[in-house]
């Protein structure tokens, strides 16, 4: 029988159980979510199914209402059936995978698995999401068949957003089971797989927690402050803005304390065991229940002044009093700010000579020592450790990658000079003349494998395409500072943007034209995609606003018109090119980024998609074909015969609102319901596979004998739509729900989208609407209030509602 996952049981409805259930439902899989019957039922409640499901219902509701959203679409919730461990246990028979996420207590887990062993159908995979209890302890005394299907699946919180899934094979788990869950996790659930060994806290938390512990201790020893530490261990070192202490506030100091103690107890031979002992002030904070966000006070807290203003406070580690937060800086951080690349920033910080830089270096050296010494104890390769930190802790580089950036040899020399122990495996590696952990050769990424003392290929899924690897293999066929055209094989090329936030500027617009020409001559199809980092990252945050601002201030309106015309020509050319063009958006896909996708033949989107035409926030409208293509997406979603005779207003109002209200999606599923994605567009769960899947889509379209769409006039809402909008905007304005300028902009957007001065139901050339887009954009650019909005956005990154 071919293994399939039809239904999954999640046992335990806490934040992790609920999160896993939501993820599975998002992937279209039926879920049975179970939890215990409350202990404190009153007599009259004992037969009441609602009372008996009270705990699981509360967990389910918490997942449904959590912010940020755990569900990609609330509709998915209908795939989840809830129940309790007394009345619904037999239903486990129907499940192909049973995942345990109950309290971290060995006895409770064993008792549960004993019951599961009795009801599970043969071949059903059983996993534990335990983070601290060894699997071998949990499955002791179970049947062979059970053990062959038992393993660890360790998700990270919040499950939807954290890419990492640690898989821990049991001693007897069948390879085909391991392989199946790895593929399922990667493809269906979109996770990044790290193979961990059955050691306490596995990979991510073992490394991550030691990193936090040692920094806390060193801070006290060196007399540094919490804000100082957070300023160093943030984006300058490729780590999230929440750095150390804000991260702990987010996770909860109680949880961190628990993991520290667990690691300390279970790892008696860990040479850095002592770094897991939390400093006294932090233990006192635990006693005082200053856990962080969940108790509204942790290392940081937000106070309000009497007149309602927010004030950020930070705890003083000596006095445990909260003080006003002053953001410190160090010369090395100022230096890092000037650097464009992460590698440059990291070097600035680690190689500086101020107090902050020296502290950062010491901690980096410690993490090098610790990570290298964990191989092969917790994982077989450096790839697993680096990936776990990137995917589970949102670091942009794992410890070995940081070490590579510093220069291994250079770092080792400095460590030796400072009497810091250099791990033996790294020493041996250097002695053999190998001076880097990773290297790129012919587009293939290799890592240094300690076990065999040789370089091996970093394993990637077959369908995965790496633009970076292709570029490293001299496959860039055209390029400039803002964009490149890369050969990704089989005649397919990829246009890659690489500006800040992948903002679209004149160079990118030019590149698009060049790319289309090149592919027409030399290729079979085009992917528009990129691999910028970050969570969620930005496919493209829109047009380069600084560029637009300058043109507005200089009153260069004919240049604005020319820029728009060129952008529109590029987008139209991609739509009507004789080869398929597939856009592969992920993360922030706003304004011009969204327009680029709407102009493509097809969209293959990552499930985490924040897509919208938000130009009105800066007093503008989509004028790269976006206003037209938004409408086109709606009208062309209908069967042709129906579109001829349908009430256009039912389509026009939502399409118009998408732009006039600057609606954007919080997931690809949401983008579909808003109409940004259509029936032929696809959603991919794993971002690592996105470009590869887009390439596959191109090849499939080619294989299906691709012919470009015939250009035909569009049926438009005409002036009937403008009347509807005029009347409704008057109400919004009267109700003070929008400003005069918003109303002015929205009316004109309605005019453009509805085709201008024509009767309802008229057929209008695409060029007509494109001209209306440009005219409106230029007229908006002449408005003082629009310029004020643009400047405010550039200055504060927030919209101005004038």
């Amino acid at each position: 029988m071919k293994r399939k996952i039809r239904k999954v049981a999640i046992i335990g409805s806490g934040i992790m159980g609920g999160g896993i259930a939501a993820l599975l439902a998002g992937a279209g899989i039926k879920v049975l979510l179970l939890d215990i019957v409350p202990f404190d039922l009153k007599d009259e409640e004992k037969n009441d199914p609602i009372a008996r499901n009270r705990i699981v219902k509360a967990g389910f509701d918490a997942a449904l209402n959590s912010k940020p959203d755990l569900f990609m679409s609330k509709k998915d919730a209908s795939l989840i059936e809830i129940g309790n461990l007394d009345d619904d246990f037999e239903k486990l028979k129907e499940c192909d995978w049973i995942c345990e996420v109950v309290v971290e207590n060995l006895k409770i887990k064993q008792k549960l698995f004993k019951r599961i062993e009795k009801v599970r159908k043969p071949d059903c995979i059983v996993t534990s999401n335990t983070s601290g209890i060894p699997l071998k302890a949990i499955c002791e005394g179970f049947s062979k068949e059970f053990k062959q299907h038992f393993m660890g699946t360790h998700f990270f919180n919040p499950v939807r957003y954290m890419h990492l899934l640690e898989l821990i094979p049991g001693a007897e788990t069948l390879p085909k089971v391991l392989d199946f869950i790895a593929k399922f996790g990667e493809k269906n659930l979109g996770k990044g797989i790290v193979w961990a060994k059955d050691t306490p806290n596995f990979v991510g938390n073992r490394i991550g927690i030691q990193g936090i512990g040692i920094i806390m201790q060193a801070m006290i020893k060196e007399g540094m402050t919490i804000p100082e530490i957070d300023s160093i261990f943030g984006p300058a070192l490729g780590r999230p803005k929440t750095a150390i202490f804000k991260t702990v506030d987010l996770v909860g100091l109680d949880t961190v304390d628990h993991v520290c103690k667990n690691s300390y107890e279970l790892c008696p031979d860990d040479e850095q065991r002592n770094s897991l002992i939390m400093p006294e002030f932090a233990s006192k904070m635990v006693e005082k229940k200053l856990f962080g966000n969940k108790t509204k006070a942790g290392f940081y807290k937000t106070d309000f002044t009497p007149d309602g203003k927010r004030v950020k406070k930070v705890i003083n580690s000596k006095t445990l009093e909260y003080e006003d937060l002053v953001r410190p800086t160090f010369p090395c951080l100022d230096e890092a700010k000037k650097k464009d690349t992460l590698a440059g920033k990291i070097e600035s910080v680690l190689k500086g000579d101020d107090k902050g830089a020296i502290f950062a270096w010491k901690m980096a050296a410690n993490s090098f020592q610790y990570a290298a010494s964990r191989i092969p104890e917790i994982a077989d390769t450096i790839v697993e450790i680096d990936n776990s930190m990137k995917w589970g802790y949102n670091f942009e580089m794992g410890p070995f990658e940081v070490w590579d950036t510093y220069g291994i040899k250079e770092a080792v020399e400095r460590m030796e000079k400072e009497d810091l122990k250099v791990p033996a495996n790294v020493k041996t590696m250097l002695e053999k003349g190998n001076t880097c952990f990773y290297k790129l050769e012919n587009g293939i990424k290799f890592f240094y494998d300690f076990a065999s003392s040789s370089y091996k290929e970093v394993p990637v899924a077959k369908s995965m395409v790496s633009i970076a690897a292709a570029k490293g293999n001299n496959k860039t066929v055209m390029g400039n500072k803002s964009a490149s055209l890369v050969d990704i094989g089989n005649g397919v090329f990829c246009v890659e943007f690489h500006t800040k936030m992948n903002a679209i500027n004149a160079e990118i617009v030019d590149s698009m034209a060049g790319a289309l020409e090149y592919v027409d001559k030399n290729g079979v199809g085009l992917v528009i995609g990129n691999e910028a980092g970050g969570m969620p990252g930005a496919f493209s945050a829109g047009a380069d606003l600084g560029f637009i601002s300058k043109l507005c201030h200089d009153k260069k309106y004919s240049e604005i018109n020319a820029f728009l015309k060129k952008a529109q020509d590029g987008i139209q050319a991609s739509k009507y090119a004789p080869f398929p063009v597939v856009a592969a958006p992920y993360g922030m896909t706003l304004g011009g980024g969204c327009e680029t996708c709407l102009g493509a033949d097809r969209i293959v989107a990552h499930s985490e998609l924040f897509m919208g035409l938000v130009e009105i926030g800066v007093g503008l409208l989509p004028a790269g074909g976006g206003t037209m293509n938004m409408w086109k997406k709606f009208i062309s979603a209908l069967p042709a015969g129906v579109a001829k005779d349908t009430d256009l207003a039912k389509l026009f109002i939502p399409a118009f609102m998408n732009i006039a209200m600057a609606q954007f999606s919080m997931s690809a599923a949401k983008a579909k319901s808003l109409g940004f994605l259509g029936a032929t567009d696809r959603i991919v769960f794993n971002r690592d596979n996105l470009v590869g899947e887009a390439k596959k889509e191109v090849l499939k379209m080619v294989d299906d004998a691709y012919a470009p769409p015939a250009k035909q006039p569009l049926r438009v809402m005409g002036n009937g739509g403008q009347g509807m909008v005029n009347a409704e905007l008057f109400n919004f304005l009267q109700g003070k729900f929008m400003s005069e300028h918003d109303s002015f902009l929205a009316k004109r957007i309605a005019f453009v989208m509805s085709g201008g001065d024509v009767k309802s139901g008229s057929y209008v050339d695409e060029e007509t609407i494109l001209k209306l887009e440009r005219d409106a954009f230029v007229d908006f650019a002449k408005e003082e209030k629009t310029v004020a909005r643009i400047d405010h956005m550039l200055k504060t990154s927030k919209p101005l509602r004038n």
Binding site: D647, Q722, A727, L729, F730, N731, Q734, K736, K747
Partner: protein
């Protein structure tokens, strides 16, 4: 002019739009039922005696289109000879239908007519299915298409009607309605069949009929409780869902017969229409309509306001109702106004409202043994209407 007598005036219960008991019952059924029942309840009158039926409907399209006035007549089982028309003046449509039906008799053009009203806001939403304001006129005069909620805010702001007074008024309306329902005082109501589609064991659906006895939007309320609601039409406004009329489904019918025909068939007159007026006002404060329409109709009839025993002034919004009552000098006559509650509790099924309030007015006049009653309402687009009825 001939004498035209009302011999029957009844209504269905009003049920909440989309959530209420009529949410699956089409408007044709509500209307044809109330027409047929009006005839059946009138001893001595047969369907073939009816000559014409005027039906008020504010959004005569979709399920209410195709001239529901004629379709409902046929669905009621009336013979081919009975004609039917749909009449629209938005919220006074039902009253307009009754006055037109009366006028036909007074002119001597008919002997037996029905004036009725119907609105299923569930099936045809307010504004209709396909509103298309004129592109240029809506740009220069958007207030002609203004939302009713904004007009209520305008009345509150321009004439200083406080949120507190609106909530008090709304709670009083609800509580009067609770009392009337619990004590069986809605004698104009006829229990009305409705239906729903219920899933069967085999997965198919079956139409299930049931009877609706009461208005389903009545909620016992306190002003303090209502004060918690947020304004819905304007940021920082005072008009809430609770101090506005409910959007509702319902139907009502009134039979009017000439004196000669009453004598011939032995029918018992109840009341008659004395006079009817309509008047225009600013569209962006349409709620002030009754404040002008009532003095106008009294002047037409040569009467004074103190002669009136019962007022049914439609509570489109508490703000406009309070303003009109104040301007008419009726603040001390609350015992005569909407004595069993108004549209805030009982609902405002747009085109049905005039016909519904006529039935209520006549029932309440009977209850208090009064002689004269007024039915009045404000009308979208900026109008007011008022009619005086006299018991006979």
């Amino acid at each position: 002019m001939k004498e035209a007598y009302i011999v029957q005036s009844i209504r269905t219960p009003g049920c909440k739009q989309n959530k209420g008991l009529y949410k699956e019952t089409r408007p044709e059924e509500l209307l044809s039922f109330i027409l047929k029942t009006a005839v059946d309840k009138t001893e001595g009158l047969k369907a073939e005696d009816i000559e014409d039926v005027m039906v008020g409907c504010a959004f005569p399209e979709g399920e209410q289109g195709l001239n529901i006035g004629r379709i409902a007549v046929k669905m009621a089982g009336f013979p081919d000879s009975v004609s039917g028309a749909t009449v629209n003046r938005f919220c006074s449509s039902g009253l307009e239908a009754i006055t037109l039906a009366s006028a036909r008799i007074q002119m001597g053009w008919s002997d037996v007519t029905i004036g009725a009203g119907v609105e299923s806001m569930t099936f045809v939403p307010m504004g209709g299915n396909a509103p298309r304001p004129h592109p240029e006129y809506s740009a220069s005069n958007p207030e002609m298409y203004i939302s009713m909620g904004i007009t209520a805010e305008n009345v509150a702001n321009r004439y200083n009607v406080s949120r507190e007074d609106q909530d008090k008024f709304a709670a009083a309306s609800q509580n009067k309605a609770v009392n009337a329902r619990d004590n069986g005082l809605f004698t104009e109501i006829v229990p009305t069949p409705a239906y729903k589609f219920e899933k069967q064991e085999d997965g198919t659906y079956k139409k299930i009929e049931f009877i609706v006895e009461n208005d389903d939007g009545i909620r016992s309320s306190t002003a303090e409780g209502l004060a918690k609601l947020r304004p819905v039409f304007a940021g920082g406004g005072s008009v809430t869902a609770a101090n506005s009329s409910q959007t509702t489904d319902g139907a009502a019918a009134t039979i009017i017969v000439s004196k000669e025909k009453c004598d011939e068939l032995g029918l018992k007159p109840i009341a008659k229409l004395v006079s009817y007026s309509t008047i225009g006002c600013k569209s962006d404060e349409m709620g002030v309509g009754p404040r002008y329409a009532i003095p106008k109709v009294l002047k037409q009839a040569g009467m004074t306001i103190d002669q009136i025993d019962i007022f049914e002034i439609n509570e489109a919004f508490a703000s406009q109702a309070i303003y009109c009552i104040k301007e008419l000098g009726l603040e001390d006559s609350m015992d005569k106004i909407n004595i069993h509650g108004g549209a805030i509790a009982l609902g405002h099924p747009l085109g049905c409202t005039g016909a519904k309030l006529t039935a209520t007015c006549l029932a309440n006049l009977k209850e208090v043994k009064g002689k004269y009653g007024i039915v009045s309402m404000c009308i979208g687009g900026g109008m007011g209407a008022a009619a005086i009825f006299k018991m006979v």
